[in-house]
Symmetry: C2
DNA sequence: AATAAAGTGTAACTTAAACAACACTTTTAC
DNA sequence: GTAAAAGTGTTGTTTAAGTTACACTTTATT
């Protein structure tokens, strides 16, 4: 239990992230300056740097937050099986990717992708360690990576499909195949 | 040219008024507490009182601002005739009333009406004095009042009509009648 | 290639907003 | 009727945000 953060800090962060998301709809990431963000957020440019290192740091935090918003609560549940976790993460990811405005530029896509990858690997890693505490971490890390690529690949596949199936319907028949691999553990 | 206001002040006002308008969509005015507003606005309750006397004062300012937003620029134009002013005010009023969510309660309706009345009287009064500077103010005040009732009456009439005519079409045939009265000056 | 213009990141100082505590007035509930 | 709860409006004190200025880097312009 730590001393709760000043409401002004929370408000400022909210204003900044909302402003950023707002501008992000209309401009590509590289075109956005810190000044743009702070003007939209109605805060001073110097204040921005009290909260974020730079706009890349902001992007990172925003994506993290967005992802957590979808699967944050589920993440805690230790009751969840790996299979459920995979499905949940997949659904969160597709939800996230459809919620993000089809952003253009390469730079920001790479940035976002990198952040998502880190996040997913972390989720899978945690879950795998939780369920197989005796297995060595090196192996679990590799598996987490593999699961991440798998889930993101399927997500991309679904995204490029005609989407007559829901995301859930799309991954459902694939889950047994994925699970077979995991069950080698 | 006066010393420009602190950006924090502008931001806080914006947050408060936006929060108020937001809550006003879901609750009636009497049900809204200052705490509700400040929570939604993410500001401290004490700060509210640095900007507004109470929630009635806030309502007043918000309605004023909304009205000004519509006819603020026109109000300056000394070039405008009384007839144009009447029409402009009428159109602003109908625009305002259709933009306000059909708010329920009696208390707030009266509050808003009172504010609108004050505002319109003030506009007409200014215009009349500008055009007839030699006429005594007492009389112009009465005329301003009369114009206000006229415009608001027609606005109400239009609102209750089936609105197959636009507001502009609605008042157009009435303007000569109104002007006849004014031209007695 | 040179220069202007726009953007970045930082730091000392000022100020508006948060805190929290208060007396007071409704509302609500027993 | 009265006690608890919720709301109002105010006042010092503390703190996050605004100001301004700076050195520096990147991007346009000539």
């Amino acid at each position: 239990m730590q001393t709760k953060t000043d409401p002004r800090v929370l408000r400022t962060r909210k204003l900044i992230t909302e402003a950023f998301i707002q501008i992000f709809q209309t401009k590509s990431f590289s075109e956005i300056s810190v000044k743009d963000i702070t003007t939209e957020a109605m805060i001073n440019r110097a204040t921005f740097y009290n909260h974020f290192l730079d706009k890349y740091d902001l992007l990172e935090k925003v994506v993290e937050e967005k992802l957590h918003l979808n699967l944050g609560c589920e993440k805690q549940k230790t009751s969840m099986s790996i299979e459920e976790t995979i499905e949940t993460v997949f659904l969160s990811l597709t939800r996230f990717e459809t919620s993000v405005p089809s952003v253009s530029g390469q730079e920001e896509k790479e940035a976002i992708d990198a952040i998502i990858k880190l996040e997913l690997v972390n989720i899978f890693r945690t879950k795998l360690i939780e369920i197989n505490p005796q297995t060595e971490t090196r192996l679990l890390d590799k598996l987490a990576n593999w699961l991440t690529f798998t889930v993101r690949g399927i997500s991309l596949d679904w995204k490029h499909s005609d989407q007559d199936e829901t995301a859930g319907e799309f991954i459902e028949p694939l889950l047994p195949f994925i699970m077979r691999g995991i069950e080698t553990l």
